[in-house]
Symmetry: C2
Subunit: 385 residues, 2 copies
C-alpha cells in the first residue's frame, strides 16, 4: 500500500512514454486532509535539478497538497525551459486538483540534461492521466512508476497507537549521503504541525538515508517528502513518532541497498568505540568509498589491509595500531596486526558485516554500502546509451 496505507491519501501511477519500455513513469500522491502539513529534505549537492529548486520553495511554508514524480528524465541542467517545465507541471496538477501550484512538490529522476519539449509534453500528459487515476489504493501503482534502474519497488508501512506511516522509495545508483539518488514519499495520518513533521523527518533521515552510501556519488535530484494529514485526529508522542518514522526510513534504505545497481554484497559497516558519532560516521564513510575494499568484497576477499588504509585517511581520533577489524564475526585484525586467518571468513552470503573497533570512546555509527562489481561498471558505462 505504501503511500496510501495511511488514511486520507490518494495516489496513482501511469505510463506516458517517458520510459522506452512503456512502463509506468509518472506518479501522483495527493493529501486529502484535513491537514496539509508537509516537510522535505533535499540533496545537499549544489548542482540542483529544477524540481529541487522548485520544491524547496514549495515546502518553505510547511504546506504540501500533492507530489508529482516522474522517472525517465531528471530535468536537471536543462536551462530555464526546464524550470518552466517543472513550474507548468505543478500548475497543471494544481489546476486539476483545485489547489495552489505553490503547494505542489515536483520530483524527477533519470538522465541529467533530459528535459526537452517532448519530455514536457509527456509529463504534463502524465499529470492529467494521473489525476484521473487517483485512488485510495494507488500506492502500489505509484511505487512502480518512480522506478528507474530499480529491479523492484520499495515500500514500507508502520502502524502504531492508531496512526500509520507509509512510504515508497526509488533509487539504485548514485546512492550517497545527502541523500542518495532517490525519491521518497512518506505519508502519515498522525496529526503533526509543520515544525514537528520537519523535525521528525530530519531526525529519521539523518540516521537512515544519510548513512546509505552505496557508490559515493551524490545526486542532483534527491528528495524525501513527508505528508501528514492528521486524519486520525491522533497527536502522537513525538519521540515515538520519530522513532517509528526512523524505523520505516531504515527499512526503505535497506531496500535501496539491497537493490543497488550491480551489487553482489550488502555491506553493513559498524564503527564502535569512537570518540564521537561524527568520527564514527567519517570512519565508516571512508571505507564505504574505498574502491579497493569494495572490489575485494566482490571477490570474497577479506582484505582488512584495505580497511586500515581507508580509515587512515580520516581525521578521526584513533591509533591505527590499536584498531580491531571483524568481518562476518571473525576478528581478522587486532591492534593493527593480523589476527585470525582469512580463510575463516565466509564472504559468500550477500549480507556482509564489517565491524571496526576504534577503542577510544563510546560513540558508534552504522554506514550501509555495497561492493564494487563488474555489473556496477557495466550498468553505469551504458546508462546513457
Amino acid at each position: 500500500m505504501s503511500v496510501t496505507a495511511a488514511q486520507g491519501f490518494a495516489a496513482a501511477g501511469v505510463a506516458v512514454g517517458l520510459k522506452s519500455t512503456g512502463k509506468p513513469d509518472v506518479a501522483l500522491v495527493v493529501n486529502r486532509g484535513p491537514r496539509k502539513v508537509g516537510a522535505a529534505v533535499f540533496t545537499s549537492n549544489r548542482a540542483k535539478a529544477n524540481p529541487i529548486i522548485w520544491s524547496q520553495q514549495v515546502v518553505a511554508d510547511g504546506v504540501i497538497e500533492a507530489v508529482v514524480l516522474n522517472s525517465g528524465g531528471a530535468n536537471c541542467f536543462t536551462g530555464s525551459f526546464g524550470f518552466q517545465t517543472t513550474h507548468q507541471t505543478a500548475e497543471k496538477a494544481a489546476e486539476l486538483l483545485g489547489v495552489s501550484a505553490g503547494d505542489v512538490v515536483v520530483c524527477s529522476t533519470g538522465l541529467i540534461g533530459t528535459g526537452d519539449e517532448v519530455f514536457r509534453a509527456k509529463v504534463l500528459a502524465g499529470v492529467e492521466q494521473g489525476v484521473a487515476a487517483l485512488s485510495d489504493d494507488g500506492g502500489e501503482a505509484a511505487s512502480l512508476a518512480i522506478m528507474t534502474t530499480d529491479s523492484r519497488p520499495k515500500r514500507s508501512v508502520r502502524t502504531h497507537d492508531g496512526w500509520t506511516i507509509g512510504g515508497m522509495a526509488k533509487g539504485a545508483g548514485m546512492l550517497a549521503p545527502g541523500l542518495a539518488t532517490m525519491l521518497v514519499v512518506i505519508t502519515t495520518d498522525a496529526e503533526l504541525t509543520s515544525a514537528e513533521a520537519d523535525a521528525a523527518l530530519r531526525r529519521a533521515t539523518g540516521t537512515s538515508f544519510d548513512r546509505l552510501d552505496s557508490d559515493g556519488c551524490m545526486s542532483t535530484n534527491d528528495q524525501v517528502t513527508l505528508l501528514a494529514n492528521g486524519a486520525t485526529g491522533i497527536h502522537p508522542d513525538l519521540d515515538v513518532f520519530a522513532a517509528v518514522l526512523a524505523d520505516l526510513c531504515q527499512d526503505l534504505a535497506r531496500q535501496l541497498q539491497g537493490d543497488a545497481e550491480g551489487a553482489s554484497h550488502d555491506i553493513t559497516i559498524r564503527v564502535v568505540s569512537a570518540e564521537s558519532e561524527t568520527d564514527a560516521v567519517e570512519v565508516g564513510r571512508s571505507v564505504a568509498r574505498n574502491n579497493l575494499f569494495k572490489a575485494a568484497i566482490f571477490g570474497n576477499d577479506p582484505n582488512w589491509g584495505r580497511v586500515l588504509a581507508a580509515i587512515g585517511t580520516t581525521a578521526a581520533a584513533f591509533d591505527p595500531y590499536d584498531v580491531d577489524v571483524w568481518m562476518n564475526g571473525v576478528r581478522v585484525c587486532s591492534q593493527g596486526g593480523p589476527d585470525r586467518p582469512r580463510e575463516e571468513v565466509d564472504l559468500a552470503p550477500r549480507a556482509t558485516d564489517l565491524l571496526i573497533d576504534l577503542k577510544v570512546g563510546t560513540a558508534e555509527a552504522t554506514i550501509l554500502t555495497n561492493d564494487l562489481t563488474h555489473d556496477y561498471v557495466h550498468e553505469n558505462s551504458a546508462y546513457a546509451s
Copy 2:
C-alpha cells in the same frame, strides 16, 4: 638508466622469491658521493607501513646513503616483528656498504599484512645479493625489481646545464594524492644542500604525483626519495632545478597513469578560471573520484551531467549554472545546460581531455585520473588470492 643516469650512483635489482613469478623483487640504490644529501616525501595516510615509519626517521637529518626497496610484501600492519624486519634490512645494507643504518631508507610494496619470517629472510638475502650486484648501470635492473602489478617499468631522465636527474617509479593501483601507491627514487649529480633538495622535491611532487588520483585510494607505503651527490660540482639555479625536477616527476606520473590497473582511458582533468588553485584542485579531484563519471568514460559516454553532479559536492567558488564543460575539444555543456550534441565527442582514444571552466577567476589546476573499468574491478577483487 633511470637512477644511474646521474654520476656517482650505483644500483641493482635481484630476485629472491618474494614474487611467486620469480621475477626481480629487491632493488638497491646507493649514493657514491661525494655528498650524501637526501630528501623524501611520504604518504599522508595515518596508517603507515613499517618502512615509512623507519624512513621518516632516516631522512630527518637530510642524509641518505642508500635505498633498499622490495616488492612482494608491504610490511604494513605486521606488528613489531615487521618493524624489526625493516630495521634489520637497513642494518644489513649498512653493514655491507660500510655506512650507518640510520642513513639507509627502506621502501616496501605489496600486500598489506605480509611480513613474516619467510618475508624477512628473503629481503635480507636480497640485500646481500643486491650489494654484490651493484653496478653503475644497474638502474634498469632496479626499476624492474620494484614492479608489482605494473605492466612495464617507469623511468625518466633529464639533463640540463651539465647536471642530470634520473628517476624510477612503480605504481599501478591505489593511486591517490598524498601520494599514490608508488615508490619513486630520483637521483641527481647536481650539488644541493639538504634544505634545497627538500624544497625542490616538495615543489615538484606537489604538482605532479600529488595530482595523480587514479582510484581515490591512498596507500600506506608511498614514498618519493631524492638523492643528490654533487658529483658534477655544479650548484644549479634552484628555480631551474626545481622546474626540471617537476618535469621529470610529471613524466613519471604520466607513466603511472598510463599503466594504471585495468584502465582504458587516461583522463586529464583541467579546471580553469577558478578563484584559487585550491578550488581548482578540489573541483578536479571531485570528478576524478566520481565512479559514475569514470564508468561513463569507460563506456565512451560523454556524460557531462555526472561532471556537474560531482563538482556540485565541492565548496569551491562557482555557480553550477554558469559552468562550461568540454570533452575532447567539444563543449558539451555551456552555462550549466546542454550545448553540442554528445555524438560529436569521440571518446575512442585512450587520452581523454576534460576541461571545466568555472568562470570566476584566473587560477587553474590539472588532475590526472583513469576510467573505472571491468578490468579494474577484476584485478582488485582477485589481488590477494
